[in-house]
């Protein structure tokens, strides 16, 4: 009964406060800009990526068509020329980029302090701490029973799939001519396992993204799927590896190394 009264009172109080003022929390001394936008534009070499679209050729010479391409971007940090940076608050720093969902390809950051930014850092995947966090910390794209599409979660080892690339290829050895690359593994909870989280740093190479009270800069990144097949670590052959998931940890590491190099700056709108 007491709880109820307190609740009613709080409600009453809240409604009163609402009428009086909505601005009481804007006392932060750092001026906050209008926002910051990062576009993850998925491409295949020089061509735009089209799901179930035209055939492409990888560096091994294998034809392939992409049917699905999803990945997690998290732990975003915007860096400044003087070496300081703005770290996006942890709880607001998880994004699932899906080729089939245009909206998901625009990471929109709020509450970014006004200023010039000269680079961005982010993780591809979901960090180990969040991968073992309790269920109340798994909201939005991290909720395996909520808004997360396409099963970017392995229920059997409670780990997120960081990057999912699927497609068809005449080179594939599977019964349905499909290839499946599901890369996850966050380092393990009780037993140390492979850790495929990767941090990517993009330097704006002399350009600046300027956040002001009115302007939202848009950083346009290109994400080249061909790099997954041909990177510093390995040349990935669909014929040799039509499926890489959790049971080929060495190979999955090489693929993660490859895709950590698939991001590049195209241009910045200020």
């Amino acid at each position: 009964m007491i709880m109820k009264r307190i609740f009613s009172f709080c409600l009453y109080l809240f409604s009163g406060i609402t009428f009086l003022s909505f601005n009481s929390c804007e006392s932060d001394p750092t001026p906050t800009g209008a926002g910051f936008s990062i576009e993850f534009d998925n491409v295949v070499g020089t061509k735009n990526l089209v799901l179930n679209g035209p055939s492409n050729v990888n560096s091994t010479g294998e034809d392939f068509v992409i049917t699905k391409f999803n990945y997690f971007i998290s732990n975003i940090k915007l860096t400044r020329a003087n070496g300081t940076s703005y770290v996006v608050p942890q709880d607001s720093s998880y994004f699932l980029i899906m080729e089939e969902n245009k909206e998901s390809q625009f990471v929109k950051l709020k509450n970014v302090p006004v200023g010039d930014y000269t680079g961005v850092e982010f993780m591809v995947g979901v960090d180990s701490a969040r991968s073992v966090s309790p269920v109340e910390k798994r909201k939005g794209v991290l909720d395996p029973g909520g808004s997360m599409e396409d099963g970017m979660y392995w229920a059997w080892n409670s780990g997120y799939i960081f990057m999912k690339l699927e497609g068809t290829s005449p080179a594939a050895t599977s019964a349905n001519s499909k290839f499946y690359y599901h890369i996850g593994l966050f380092g393990g909870y009780q037993t140390r396992t492979v850790n495929n989280t990767r941090v990517v740093k993009i330097d704006f190479a002399g350009q600046k993204a300027t956040v002001s009270a009115e302007e939202i800069p848009e950083v346009h990144l290109l994400v080249d799927v061909l790099k997954i097949f041909d990177g510093p670590a390995t040349r990935l052959s669909i014929a040799k590896y039509s499926s890489v998931m959790s049971q080929l940890p060495e190979k999955s590491q090489e693929i993660a190394n490859n895709y950590s190099k698939m991001f590049s700056l195209d241009h910045i709108h200020n």
Partner: protein, 374 residues
């Protein structure tokens, strides 16, 4: 909050006054105030640790147990609505009479009678578990239900769709129509159904399932008359020959070990499949032995049908592979545990003292009328 403000605006003054006095939630129509008890805060449950048990692993401060939360968890546990066919509940393969295993089933059959690959483990004393399933793939009880719900041969459903179905209850076509939005409100304060609430309710129910009233527990707490001579001898032998792995009051050290079972056709790699590490190949979790007399068949694939067969395995048929646990290696290079026939009988007599009749008859854990058993 926006909703609350809007509701406040839409109310006329006398109703607003009534609203404040009664403290009813804004989602209810103001014309039909709910009876007082509807808005009762959930009743906290004091979870008691059995005196001979260690401290639990699950952090209950994150998910405080309440009567309403446990009751909701019990309904969810038994209700087939969790499956694609609305036929398979958790309780289908975890039956109370068999200490929440699938009685008599080597492997369990889920939706459309599809067979799984492992023997259904007992659901009891999960508050103490640092990991779940035979391979320990899941480390948090709250995340366990994703596994059976989304496994295509178990419940074949998605958690997302289960939530949608729960929101649309009560269903007049159901065996026993359950009003889940109402139950969620009782347990969590509002009718909102989301995965966190569903999982936490299931956890609350499973945390309440403590088995600590076996004959062994009476014996260990000081009633020496609880054991006969053979059971006492069995306990001594057990301590000598089995308790390296089946240690403590939970009768497991929760480690993963290769106990020398020859892999079957599907070549289940166990823990190795989760960690991807060669030293973990063919290792499975050491199971708790509480209620072991009630949970036949045995081993991760249910290959042994009696405790006699299990002990015969340990004495005579431990298969040597690179990851075989060293505990099974004898100085002469042979494998197994030295056990005579009468020692085996004594150990089995002791193991049966771990049966907890109160646990398997406790009405608090039984099917509220929504379940199916196949």
């Amino acid at each position: 909050m926006e909703k609350i403000i809007k509701s406040l605006f839409s109310l006329n003054l006398p109703v607003l006054a009534a609203f404040l006095i009664m403290g009813i939630s804004c989602s209810k129509s103001p014309e039909t105030p709910e009876p007082e008890e509807e808005d009762k805060a959930p009743t906290p449950v004091v979870w008691k640790k059995p005196v001979n048990f260690p401290d639990p692993v699950y952090d209950m401060s994150r998910n405080p147990l309440t009567e309403e939360g446990i009751e909701l968890g019990r309904f969810l546990f038994y209700d087939g609505i969790l499956s694609r066919t609305n036929q398979i509940g958790c309780g289908t393969c975890h039956q109370q009479v068999a200490a929440f295993t699938h009685h008599g089933h080597e492997l369990s059959h889920g939706v459309d009678d599809q067979l799984g690959t492992r023997n259904s483990p007992s659901i009891q004393n999960l508050a103490w578990y640092p990991s779940f399933f035979w391979d320990g793939g899941v480390h948090d009880l709250d995340l366990v239900p994703f596994n059976p719900i989304e496994n295509p041969v178990e419940m074949g459903e998605t958690v997302k769709n289960v939530i949608t179905k729960l929101k649309n209850t009560p269903l007049s076509s159901a065996k026993k129509p359950v009003d889940y939005p109402k139950m969620f409100k009782k347990a969590f304060g509002t009718e909102e159904i989301n995965s966190e609430r569903m999982l936490k309710a299931l956890s609350q129910f499973m945390l309440s399932m403590v088995s600590a009233n076996s004959k062994y527990d009476f014996y260990v707490k000081g009633d020496v008359s609880a054991f006969n001579a053979q059971e006492k001898e069995g306990l001594g032998l057990f301590k000598c020959k089995c308790s390296t792995c089946h240690s403590g009051e939970l009768f497991t050290d929760f480690s993963f070990r290769n106990n020398g079972l020859i892999p079957l056709k599907i070549n289940d790699q166990g823990r190795g499949a989760v960690t991807g590490l060669d030293p973990d190949m063919y290792k499975f979790k050491v199971p708790s032995l509480r209620n072991v007399g009630l949970t036949a068949p045995y081993m991760h694939d249910g290959r042994y049908h009696s405790l006699e067969e299990v002990l015969d395995h340990y004495s005579d048929s431990v298969h040597k592979t690179t990851t075989l646990d060293p505990v099974f290696l004898k100085p002469d290079g042979k494998t197994g545990i030295v056990l005579t026939a009468s020692e085996k009988q004594s150990i089995i007599a002791f193991l049966k003292t771990l049966n907890d009749e109160q646990f398997i008859q406790d009405a608090r854990f039984s099917d509220p009328g929504v379940g199916t058993s196949f």
